[in-house]
Symmetry: C2
Subunit: 386 residues, 2 copies
């Protein structure tokens, strides 16, 4: 159940000393081929971190031999020195693996605005590369953790026997004290560069991109797909994409379950929308409402806040008639035809809460996941950097 | 220092029994003329409450004799019955004052989705109207409070001796457990309907509309201006607008100071912007970041979160070059030229925190105010309706 399940991959985790706790904080994932196909989806944030720019360039080159990842420092908003540090991480990795620096992606996660300890990485990167092995997936998954309480890993088999593996840390917007959601996915299927890009984009859309804890967007979020082709099995595009999406959904479930500071997982489903974009906008309006999230923490079915959140969207973004909207919480309709329903308030004592909104203006739908707003969220996020 | 300071106005506050605490919960503001000019700015929320629709219609009519306001129930998302209840409030008020229902504005604040106790209001509205007096401003200001700890009132004198008075409750988005920010402004200046509308819109823009606690938008927010003309002084448009803006700013300061659950007031100023809209969008991106707000609660100058928030805006909404942005906290520059500044971390122990962002892409600026995200915010907003 790890990134080293597929053939052709080695990995390792190492304690470089970037974390004060001396926990694992450096990971490498090596693709031994015979193919070196890679693709990446990165944050749209305009203050994207130095390693994000580097990884985009490597993705454009299309040939990826390895990914080097560190926790304990985001290397974001670090200027020229940060860009040089990210480039040096790729160089050190390439030297250790007898690859080109242009074939090495870099990911960092941790505090924004502090510089990497390159003195430590100069010895640690060769060492983690030396240790990379075909059972190193677990250690790599542990090394990218920040405030995660458990590592997140998954694996699946596809038609003809190819495999997909994956690891993830954080939950980007779910547990944003970490500043970042990182994920590396591996497969030994024979995949073209185009299919790798398209399948990754298709898989990320309804999974990683539909988690939203607090509307905050990381400077470092990155999802990478590496393809070794070592199984010799040519994957059928639709089947591979479906399989990859299911694997991402599995990782997302693990992130939702581990979102620290949260006592509820909230699924906001908007259906009857004029378009998928309208449905997603409607769902995000609700998942980004502190008032809705605080009410659910308090097990208080204060549904007026759901409508107030939905009401902030303009007609163009999300067409609906306010008198035709129906809202249900945990299956109980609490608002319909412009007025409160005469129903027993839904029980919010369970961990999972569903908010179901029917806009009655079309056939599209989307579901966005979030967590409640809790004292632990405030505590964790008010005392992170110092 | 109240809405009854200007000549030609009477007001009262009354305990109708809408609040379980038996505190004052019903207010009336009566304009005795000789002019009955009125204007209103209301929430753009698409689930606007029944009284908001009624008040807009009265504003369109242009002649306003009175405003009836209740706390304890928002009368929002209440359907046909809610609209009938709001209309009945106007009727009862009009009957008591020998006015037309079409001359009475209505405001409600409290929980969304519950119905008004019209049985109580049927006797309470005639009584509060009977009690209206020229020293009733204080009681009216108290009667519109929800979770406010103090009433908010202000008054000013204008050129030639006309007066402006004002009261406000809540803080809309500052203390959103209330669901609403309401304000009634009065003046005895001689004002044309056009000037009333224009001056109110101009005054609300940089004051009430620049407070943002959690990005949540109320279904009931309303600001009303009533003009009696009783001083006989014709106000000069620019001077009146400036004076009214200053009065609104005074009320905003009182709301910021009373934002329950907050331990810091945060002023986010964005300058060097390509347009005022870009500056405001930049400032709102920061004021709506839970991560920024939680960090300031923790007195943690975790400035990377400010940049991450700013980075979420697209180029069209807010043009800037990431490497040219400068950020200062409490006067200390902490980020410039794409990299951290080598400065002593700013002290965040005081109540007021300033975040100053220079986008270096123009000459426009805007300041948006917010509060920090605290345990008290979560507590208050997780246990409101039940």
């Amino acid at each position: 159940m790890s990134i080293t399940d597929p053939q052709g991959f080695r990995a390792a985790g190492y304690a470089a000393g970037l974390k004060a706790s001396n926990a694992l904080d450096l990971a490498v994932v090596v693709n031994d081929g015979p193919q070196y196909v890679g693709a990446a989806v990165t944050t749209p944030n305009r203050f994207a971190a130095a390693p994000v720019y580097l990884t985009r360039d490597v993705a454009a080159g299309g040939r990826v031999r390895a990914v080097i990842l560190n926790s304990g420092c985001a290397n974001a908003c670090t200027g020229e020195r940060g860009r040089a540090d990210a480039a040096r991480m790729a160089e050190l990795t390439a030297q250790s693996l007898e690859a080109e620096p242009s074939e090495v992606m870099v990911c960092s996660t941790g505090l924004i605005g502090s510089h990497l300890r390159m003195d430590l990485l100069a010895t640690a990167i060769p060492e983690v590369c030396r240790q990379a092995s075909d059972d190193g997936g677990d250690a790599a998954a542990q090394a990218i953790m920040t405030t995660d309480t458990v590592d997140k890993q998954a694996a699946r088999e596809g038609a003809g026997g190819y495999r997909i593996g994956g690891m993830a840390k954080g939950a980007g917007m779910l547990n944003p004290a970490m500043a970042t959601m990182l994920s590396v996915l591996t497969t030994d299927a024979v995949i073209t560069p185009d299919l790798a890009r398209e399948a990754l984009a298709a898989a990320v859309g309804p999974t990683f991109n539909r988690m939203d804890s607090d509307g905050c967007q990381s400077t470092n979020d990155t999802v990478i797909l590496l393809c070794s082709g070592a199984s010799g099995v040519s994957a059928e595009p639709a089947e591979f994409t479906e399989n990859l999406t299911a694997l991402c959904a599995d990782l997302v479930r693990q992130m939702l379950a581990d979102a620290e500071g949260a006592s509820h997982t909230i699924a906001v489903r908007v259906r009857g929308a004029a378009s998928e974009a309208a449905a997603e906008a409607g769902a995000r309006a609700v998942t980004s409402s502190n008032l809705v999230k605080a009410a659910i923490f308090g097990r208080d079915p204060n549904w007026g806040r759901i409508l107030a959140a939905l009401g902030t969207l303009d007609e163009e973004t999300c067409p609906y008639d306010a008198d035709s909207v129906t809202v249900a919480i945990n299956g109980t309709v609490i608002f319909a035809a412009g007025a409160p329903s005469d129903s027993t308030p839904p029980d919010l004592s369970g961990h999972d809460v569903s908010i179901d909104i029917d806009l009655a203006s079309g056939a599209a739908e989307a579901t966005v996941f979030t967590n409640d707003l809790t004292h632990d969220y405030v505590e964790e996020n008010s005392a992170y950097s110092t």
